[in-house]
């Protein structure tokens, strides 16, 4: 998928059937965000930049839903909040055994397309820690 540069309220991502998380950033003040806005929420600049985020990160919170909302019949399923290495916090599905603090990576699956996180190994986790500490 090619990078997107500015304009419009949001780029294509998993919510429009494209297998990616998109991180939005402000070229003026460097703020980063995930939920779409047409202007930077920190400084108001109106030409945010969109790029595909690395799907790797650390779990901030995890739950397994046992009593789902009515249209979702496939309980139990797990939902996680993950801090991606690219500096945004995203929500996705995951394996039910995942816990806060674990290192995970997402793939995109299903119809409709949903992000699904699973554990990665310790070596990759160390690389992530170095990368996150360098994220500007």
């Amino acid at each position: 998928m090619t990078d997107h540069h500015g304009g419009g309220e949001s780029a294509d991502d998993w919510t429009t059937g494209v297998a990616a998380f998109v991180v939005v950033s402000c070229p003026r003040c460097r703020q980063r965000w995930y939920l779409p806005r047409s202007r930077c929420p920190a400084c108001g600049y109106d030409k945010p930049q969109h790029r595909v985020a690395k799907p790797d990160g650390v779990v901030a919170a995890a739950t397994t839903v046992h009593r789902p909302p009515a249209p979702f019949g496939d309980a139990p399923y797990a939902i996680v909040l993950v801090d991606l290495v690219d500096g945004i916090r995203v929500m996705g599905r995951s394996e039910p055994t995942i816990r806060p603090g674990e290192h995970v990576t997402a793939h995109f699956t299903g119809n409709p397309l949903l992000p699904y996180f699973q554990l990665i190994d310790a070596g990759t986790a160390d690389a992530h820690n170095r990368e996150r500490s360098q994220t500007p």
Binding site: L35, A60, V65, R67, F72, Y77, I79, V90, R93
Partner: protein
Amino acid sequence: MAWISGVACTEFGRLPGLDALGWQSRAALAAIADAGLEPAQVDGLLAGYATTLRHLMPADLLAEYLGVKPSIAFGVSAGGATGLSMVATAAALVDSGSAHTVLVVGGENRASGQSSDTSIETLAQVGHSRYEVPLGANVPAYYALLASHYLHSRGLDAADLSPLAVQMRRHAITTPGAHFTTPITESDVLSSPLIADPLRLLDCCPISDGGAAFVITDRPRGSGALRIAGVGQAHRHQHVSEADLENLGAASAAHGALSQSGWTIGELDTVGIYDSFTVTLAMLLEEIGICERGKAGADAAAGRFERIGTLPLNTHGGLLSYGHCGVAGGMAHLAEVSRQLRNSCGSRQITRPARRALVHADGGVMSAHVSLAVERP
């Protein structure tokens, strides 16, 4: 200066027979009578939304139903914080001279008027329609994520939240009108069905019918008027992925209200803190600074929040056991605190003299925060 002159809170429960307007008018008329006033004296009316009554103009609708013709009337939506948000707004209206006698109302037949699936689906819309709801997330799931982070960050486990549910039930048992009054133990909480791990059924408030109302005035009316000594609010996010989980806005709102009143937390006699889930109560108690970090459950287990304790909390049983009928659920804490400050709770009266109280409500996923400091002069 603004006064809470009229207070009313109905019984909460599964109580078919009234629709949303019926609950609102029952509470409204009771609050007006409690203030020693007549409906015709109401010159402002703020009405909270009701999910069973999807009306664009809930305040004008209720005004017409009651036969009042206020100069100011509008509907308010801030999730669970709506009730206190309306009281804060009413206080500002009377302080500014824009109105003199403002009726604040919430009421809904949330239990009887729709299936619980419908209620849960409707409320799930506080999540993001594109980035959260399609994952199968709903309100218990959002709060379970908060609980997951809360427990992990403090080195606690689910059992550390259950004393809060037990305390709320203990208060409800002796409160007339409470939805759930069967005694429970920590073991009962931990063996109740999982809703969204780590939250179990007894960690979650029920869905109830009911209503509540206040009359806010520019001078004391009736025989039990209480002074609004301070107001604070904070709105820092809507969606859970954008929340600063260690600084949600509760501290900012509560400290704003306390600083206006000139009180410290140690000078409070009783508190009413929003408790949609055990984790909500724990996070608010700790962020506001009523409890040390990680200690909310332990404080409950030690009896701090009992009627005979050092800081009686939600003495009506809270949302968790008195019940939750929507907007009025977030008003019941203030109604109970008002009764305690008026020394009118009889055998349920807290043992320490009740002069000063703090109430706090949140809406959404701990998104909207409103605090009030209230005093019996």
